[in-house]
């Protein structure tokens, strides 16, 4: 036994790892492995007709699979990232995954004041994954399931479920089209208001980021890309936390400049939609919202095409 102690230990380790992987407690994830989801997104190539961009609000609100029911024949991708800002690097990436041979390339950007703040630029989820070495990203893409099997136990998730009296737990469902359904048990529609109390303190919307964004919109529309922007549905108390007085974001002035640059502002479908925290749509709300939004989008695109043809 002593003569082969090392081999015995290594074999025992492999067995333990396999067994522990099977016994892992649930950590609220389903669908694709998380790292594979994000790594794949960053590696998407120019293959889409319509790209949905923005931060986690867009990430959770718009399901390309559902949208394509109202927009048949259009290849749609949700390219939103957590904590994403409209930094130049990200806007370049949004454009880069549009198929240059597409009959009508479309960008749909979910606007939040936070995406125009310096804090969002600093902690940008897209940039974080884009900075990874390509080899590491492809390890996640090719061996995503195997690496996910070996991922660390989510202590925080487990401890919260066992010990915290509130037991607020997040569940994420990752889809290959880029949509991430986020559930929270229990829902806490006022959660974001507590976060947003501090978010815009010393972190106001930066006019230079908006200027850069508008210049980009102008370039895109000149190049024949149809650019849409929209505010995704949130409760009134969240809107108040994101108001001009608190965040420095003047929506009407922004819409004016956006449309002057050639963009098309799309007011979202009417109605109240359930959020998990006052900011992110519950998957049960994201599905009908995606459907309704896509219907509006299809109608507007058709109108835009007929106007273009008559001109």
């Amino acid at each position: 036994m002593l003569k082969s102690r090392t081999t015995v230990t290594l074999v025992l380790t492999v067995v333990m790892i396999a067994v522990c992987g099977q016994l892992r407690p649930s950590d609220g994830r389903s669908g694709m492995p998380r790292e594979q989801f994000w790594s794949s997104k960053v590696e998407w190539t120019e293959q889409y007709d319509m790209v949905l961009g923005g931060d986690s609000r867009t990430l959770s609100a718009l399901s390309p699979e559902v949208m394509s029911q109202s927009l048949p024949g259009i290849r749609i991708a949700n390219f939103a990232f957590h904590r994403c800002s409209f930094a130049e690097e990200y806007l370049n990436a949004c454009e880069s995954i549009l198929d240059p041979k597409s009959q009508q390339p479309v960008l749909v950007l979910g606007i939040t004041p936070l995406a125009f703040t310096p804090l969002a630029v600093k902690g940008n989820g897209f940039i974080e994954y884009n900075k990874m070495r390509t080899v590491e990203r492809y390890q996640q893409i090719w061996m995503g399931n195997e690496l996910d099997y070996l991922r660390s136990f989510d202590w925080g998730h487990s401890l919260q479920r066992w010990f915290e009296s509130e037991r607020t737990v997040l569940f994420r469902d990752y889809h290959s089209d880029g949509w991430c359904g986020i559930r929270r048990e229990p829902d806490d529609p006022k959660a974001s208001t507590r976060d947003y109390e501090k978010t815009f303190v010393d972190n106001q919307v930066d006019s230079e980021i908006i200027n850069q964004f508008i210049r980009r919109v102008n370039q895109w529309t000149q190049a024949g890309i149809v650019v849409y922007a929209t505010r995704l549905p949130v409760p009134s108390w969240t809107l108040e936390r994101e108001s001009l007085a608190r965040s420095g974001f003047d929506e009407s002035a922004f819409v004016e400049r956006f449309e002057a640059a050639g963009g098309r502002w799309l007011a979202g479908p009417a109605g109240e939609y359930r959020t998990i925290d006052g900011s992110h749509l519950h998957p049960d709300a994201a599905i009908p919202f995606s459907h309704a939004f896509a219907t509006l989008l299809a109608a507007d695109l058709a109108a835009h095409h007929s106007n273009s043809n008559s001109n």
Partner: protein, 470 residues
């Protein structure tokens, strides 16, 4: 590539698959080791390779030149030292010096500013530069014969297990090992595996889990006004840096053992020291002995009277602080330790206190408190923050640790594990089950397998090794 990455696992597997054949002859051994090490180093950034090759060539040639033209030994020595220090100064200290100069200009009321040239700091430059300098200096002193084979030299200088974060290996220790072939026994493999398992456990389970709480506290921009909170956070940092760094050293030693080589121990339970002299004999041993042999003793060491001895000690400790980073906070950290050593030398307080159990306990606690205070300056984002934290540490009006969230509770658990582990190993509890008996034959493999499994499933968010920034 980080040790705790899939890329390194693939690299190491491929390396060790071919190693038994490649190590049989000197030529193939050195070529293979050098090529693998350059590949490992170049993975970080291919440009860094030019630097290590250039630095290596200068030192290799200086070593040979000293042997062939002994009259000019001093010239070759100083040429290589200037080249080494110059490279280090350019990449590591230039921005700091220029920033400090600009601050001084501003303070004196001047308007002009010197432009700052910001260069990427090559990973491991402090380590391999010191390793190269020790080679040349030992040749100059007649303690080492230079190697005539450049691949032999690069196999020593660039050996991948210790290249980016030490230990700093003396040429006299490793060069001879690289010329001999000895069978790698099961004992080597087993000892190597234990070192690797312990090293990874310390790094990915303890250090990385502690890092999340520590980074959150220090990077938040505000100093939470609670004494007990900061004692906990500073304790976490103390174990984070210890486990991170000693973990890396253990992994390096384990990998070397699998190759058939022995690296010296680099950490010996430093937090159990009862004096600062003892602490520096236990913490980053390869660096402290380097400074002792190549700075302190050449300056005169303890010879030349008390005043000269203190001066030499201060210079050594300040340089040691500066080695860790180009910032005033590291200089202050070094100065604090110099101050502690000075007081210790003058008052001999550890000897006076260290009688009986109570005395030893008191001296241990004092040591920890003083070392912890110094760590605040090492880790803080700014001098201002460091001062605020130290002030808060001793403001006993607030003991609240309210608001510690789940990640910090996990870090608390890891801190407890780290402390218990130290005590377990230091007190020899791991030797309670005797020798090579049947019980150990079962317990040891199970224990190591558990450690390795814990590394997979209980690792923290992947942080780079702390000492990579040096």
């Amino acid at each position: 590539m980080l040790f705790n990455s899939l890329t390194f696992l693939i690299f190491a597997t491929l390396f060790f698959m071919a190693w038994p054949w490649m190590r049989r002859r000197n030529s193939s051994r050195w070529i293979y080791l050098t090529a693998a090490s350059f590949f490992f180093y170049g993975w970080w950034d291919a440009r860094f390779l030019l630097l290590i090759i250039g630095s290596g060539l200068v030192n290799f040639c200086a070593g040979l030149a000293m042997e062939r033209a002994p009259r000019w030994r001093k010239l070759f020595l100083w040429t290589s030292i200037v080249a080494n220090i110059g490279t280090l100064a350019l990449f590591k200290y230039l921005a700091f010096l220029v920033t400090s100069a600009n601050d001084l200009i501003g303070l004196l009321g001047g308007d002009g500013r010197i432009p700052i040239l910001s260069l990427t700091l090559p990973v491991g430059i402090s380590f391999y530069t010191f390793q190269a300098m020790s080679y040349v200096i030992d040749i100059y002193r007649g303690q080492l014969k230079p190697t005539r084979n450049i691949l032999h030299f690069f196999a020593y200088l660039a050996m991948f297990p210790q290249l980016v974060a030490g230990p700093i290996i003396r040429a006299a220790h490793l060069l001879p090992q690289l010329t001999t072939w000895k069978r790698i026994t099961e004992k080597d493999r087993w000892e190597g595996l234990k070192l690797i398992a312990h090293g990874f456990f310390k790094k990915v389970v303890i250090a990385d889990n502690l890092a999340s709480a520590v980074n959150h506290a220090f990077n938040s921009g505000e100093v939470y006004p609670s004494s007990s909170y900061w004692w906990v956070i500073v304790s976490m940092f103390a174990f984070q840096i210890y486990c991170d760094f000693s973990g890396y050293s253990d992994i390096a030693r384990g990998l070397a053992r699998w190759m058939g080589y022995e690296f010296p121990e680099n950490f010996n339970h430093p937090y159990l020291a009862r004096s600062f002299k003892e602490f520096w004999g236990r913490w980053h041993i390869s660096l402290s002995t380097w400074f002792q042999d190549y700075i302190y003793i050449p300056l005169g060491g303890s010879r030349g009277g008390a005043l000269a001895s203190q001066r030499n000690m201060w210079i050594t400790m300040l340089l040691s602080g500066l080695w860790h980073g180009a910032a005033w906070s590291f200089l202050i950290w070094g100065a604090l330790h110099a101050f502690y050593l000075q007081i210790e030398r003058i008052t001999q307080w550890p000897k006076r206190l260290g009688h009986g159990l109570l005395g030893r306990l008191v001296s241990s606690i004092m040591m920890l408190v003083l070392v912890w205070i110094a760590w605040v300056f090492f880790r803080a984002e700014s001098l201002n923050q460091a001062v605020q934290i130290v002030t808060t540490l001793f403001d006993f009006s607030s003991f609240s640790i309210a608001g510690i969230k789940i990640p910090a509770k996990i870090a608390l658990l890891c801190l407890l594990v780290a402390v218990l582990r130290e005590l377990y190993l230091y007190t020899g509890c791991d030797q309670l089950i005797p020798g090579e008996g049947r019980v150990r034959a079962v317990v040891d493999p199970v224990a190591v397998a558990i450690l390795l499994t814990a590394c997979v499933y209980f690792h923290g968010y992947g942080h780079a090794f702390v000492y990579f920034q040096f």
